[in-house]
Subunit: 485 residues, 2 copies
Amino acid sequence: MIMNKPLSLLAVITGLCIAFLHHPLGAQTAMDADSNQAIFSEQDLAIARSLRAQGLEGNGGFDVVEELTTLIGPRLAGSPADAQAVEWAKAYLEKEGFDRVWLEPATFPTWHRNMEKATIVSPVEREMVTLALGFSPATPEGGVRAEVVMLDDYEALEAVDASQVEGKIIFVRNRMERARDGAGYGPAVRARSLGARIAAEKGAVAYVIRSIGTSTNRFAHTGSQRFDVGVRSLPAVAISNPDADQLERVMGLGEPVAMHIEVDAEFVESYTSHNVIAEITGAKYPDQVVAIGAHLDSWDVGTGALDDGAGIGIVTEAGRLIKSLDQRPDRSIHIIFFAAEEIGLWGGRAWAEKNKDNFHAIQVGAESDFGAGPIYEIRAKVSDEAKPVIRAIAEELAPLGIEFGGWGAWGGPDFRPAGAYGMAAIDLRQDGANYFDYHHTENDTLDKINPENMVQNASAYAVLAWLSAQSPVGFGSGPDLIGSN
Amino acid sequence: MIMNKPLSLLAVITGLCIAFLHHPLGAQTAMDADSNQAIFSEQDLAIARSLRAQGLEGNGGFDVVEELTTLIGPRLAGSPADAQAVEWAKAYLEKEGFDRVWLEPATFPTWHRNMEKATIVSPVEREMVTLALGFSPATPEGGVRAEVVMLDDYEALEAVDASQVEGKIIFVRNRMERARDGAGYGPAVRARSLGARIAAEKGAVAYVIRSIGTSTNRFAHTGSQRFDVGVRSLPAVAISNPDADQLERVMGLGEPVAMHIEVDAEFVESYTSHNVIAEITGAKYPDQVVAIGAHLDSWDVGTGALDDGAGIGIVTEAGRLIKSLDQRPDRSIHIIFFAAEEIGLWGGRAWAEKNKDNFHAIQVGAESDFGAGPIYEIRAKVSDEAKPVIRAIAEELAPLGIEFGGWGAWGGPDFRPAGAYGMAAIDLRQDGANYFDYHHTENDTLDKINPENMVQNASAYAVLAWLSAQSPVGFGSGPDLIGSN
C-alpha cells in the first residue's frame, strides 16, 4: 500500500513546524548542548534528513509484512512454516540487493499444539475459547476433570497452601492493565510464564489463566512459559477474557465449579532454525556494526502481523532506504531477522553467543518488536561519551514526533541476551496501548496494521541506523555497560 | 450491575433541559398539536414520567441478560439449550410476579452444525476462521476441493454464466457498510440468505461469503439462509473478514486458487419450541393488548447477549417497572419472548397466526432486537387518528434523547409476520453502528453490553407501553393498515 505523497509531505512539514515551535532544543539542532560543536558533518545530517523525508514517502515496509503474512502466515519456531519463512527471508533480502545476506543457526527446544479444550462442566456447561500455553504438556487422553479453585494473581498462587489446591484445577484471574508503554504486561505475565510449575508443585492437576491481554474480544492469548528440562509442569491454558468473566460469574453462583481440560501437544527436544542477516557494508569501519532487528518467527495462531511482521517490515524498509543512498555508511549496518523469539529468545541468545568476544565492535542494537504503533520516544543505554550523540540523533527524530526519553534501554527482547555482554542499546518506544489487544491471538492479522505508522517507524529506524553508523564516537558496548540499563 | 444513582438523576435533568431548549414541540408537551386538547390525563402523564425516572435508576434489565447468558448461554432454536431457556424464562417471569405467564407453541424446521472447515490449499495453505451458514447441507465426507471463482456481490452472482462457475467454489466478497441504522445489512445480506441456492443452480460445488458484519476481528458471522423444502442448495460458509482479505490477496497473486470446504451439519424437519408470554392484565380493556417483545433464541455461537439477550432484559425491565405501579394500565401489556427468530421468525409467525382473527385487539407491537445501543428515534405505523397520540408519546420520550422520526414502522423482525394482518407497529430505533461488529459471532458476549444504554432503552419501552395502554384511541391495527409501512 503506497501512501498518499502530498499528504506525507504535508506531514513532514507540519512535523518540522511543530518541532521548531515546541522542542526545547530546537535552536541547537544536532549540536552538542555543552560544547556547541558539531557532532555530525553537514553532509551526514543532510543525508539523515533526506532519509527521514524519503521514509515518509515510502510505505514503511508494509509490502514486506504483507508478503510475509500472505505467503507464509503463522510461523511458529520449529514448524515447517518457520523453515519456509527463513527461506523466504533470505531470498527477499538478496533480491533487495543488500551487500551480504547470510544465515546463522539457532538451536532450541520447541513444542506444538495439536488441540486444546476447556469446558465448564458444572454447575452449568460451557465450552470456552482457549489456547494451550507454550510448552504445556498434554493431559492424559480424555483430559482431566476437577473442581476449580480461583486465585487472584501470581502472588496468591505463591501463597496458597497446597492443601487448598491439591487435585484441583487452578484458575488465576489476574487482569492485564492497558498502558501506552505496555507496563501492564510485566506484572500480569508472571501468571503465564511461571504459574503452571508452581501449580504443579502444589499438586494441582491443570492450570488455567485469564488471557494476558487487554481486549474483550473473545480470543485466547497464548504465549510462552519458562521451560527448564526436568522441571515438572502442568497442562496449562489461557481462556479468552469474556470466558474468564463467565467463569468468574459461575464461580459467583456459590456452588462448586468443575472444569474439564484437555490438551494434546508435543515437545520437540531440539530444532535448528536460523537468524537471517543482511548487511550494508561500512565504508570506513566494515567490522563495526549497527544492528537493527525484528523477529521472524511468530506464534502459531494469527499471522504474526503485529508480532512481529511489522518489525520485519520496518527494519527492512530502513535498510532499503540506507542501501539506496549514493554514499555508504562508515560502519556496517546489519538488518537481523531473529529466530525463535516467542519461545525463548533463542535467536537473540545465539547472536549474543556468537558475538560474545566481539561486542566492542557492536556499535548498538535496536529491535522493533512492539507492533505498528507510532514511536513516541527514544531512550538509550550508551557510554557517557556517546550521550551527546544520542541527543543529536534525538533532534533529528523530533520532527517525527519522537522525544528524548532519558537514559536506560534494553534494545528489545532479542537484544536482551546481548545485555549480559554490555551491548549499547537504543529503544525507539512505540505506543503499544492497543498492542496487547491482538498479541498472541488468532486476531493478529495484517488488517490490524496502520501503514501510516509503519512509515514513521521506518523513517526513524533509518535515521537512527544511519547516524549511529556515522557517529564520531563508539557507543561504549562492552564490560563498562554490563549491569547498567 | 446497578447504575450510579446521582449520575442517573443528573442524566434525567440534563435530558429534560435539552428537550426544553431544543425540542420544537417543547411548548405543547403531550397536547394534540391541532386541537390543543389533552391526549393523556395528568395522572397518566405523571405515571409515564415516573416510569421514565424510575427506569433510569434501575439497571435496564441487565440482571436478566446476565442471568440468561450465564446460566443458559447460546440457545439455538431446537437445541437442548432452547428448551432450557424456555423453562428458565417461564420460571423467571413467574418469579417476577406477572399476572399471567404462559407458553404458546411454535413449530419449525431446524438445523445444527457439527463442524466446518475452510482452507486455502493452493497456491498457499491457510486455514480460515469460518462458520457454516444456517441450513447449510453437509459436504460429502472429506469435503470438497475445487478452484475458487471470486465474485463482487449478489448481483454478480446472479449475472455470472454457469459455464464460469460449474464445478467451482464460489466466493462472494461483498462488504457490509457500517451505519447507525444498520442500513448496510439489507444490501449485503442477500449474498448470505439467497446466494447458495443460486450458486447451486449454476453448478458450483460450494459457496463461501465474506462475513456479513462490520468488524475486522477474526470472527466469522453465521446467519440464516432462506430455506424451502425441495430447493437444492450447497454447503455454504462465511469466512471472517480478515480471512476474506487474505483470500482476496491470494486471488491477487494471479495463480489459480483452490480451497477445501468441509461441513458436517444436520437438518431437523420439525421441532416445537414456545413463545413465552407474560401479562400485566389491563384494568379497563383486558382483551386489548400492547405487545412488547424480544427473541429468546440465539445463534449457537457466542452467548446471544446483544442478539437478543439485551432485548429480553429491556422488555422484562419495562414490564417490571409497569407491574410495580399502584395503578393497572387500561389495556393489557404482553411481554413476549419469541421463539426461533434467528432461523426464520417462527415465533413471530406462530404469534401472528394465533392472533390473525384478533388484530383489532392488538393495540401495537414493538420489538427490541438491535443490541444494546441507545434509542435515538421513534417511528410508528398507526392510523391517522392515532398519530397525535404517537406525537404525545414522542414528547415523553424526548428527555431520553429520542426524537420523533416520522411515520412508517415494522415493529421489529418478530412482528413482521403480523404486518400481513395490518398490525400497528412502533420502532424505537437504536444506534446500531457497532451492532454488526458482534452479530452472529462467537464474540456476542455479555461484556459487549453497555448497561447504561439498557437503562435508557428500558425506560423508553416502559413509557411507550404504558402510554400505548392508556391511549384514548386505538392505534388502528387491522385491514386498513395492511400494505402501509
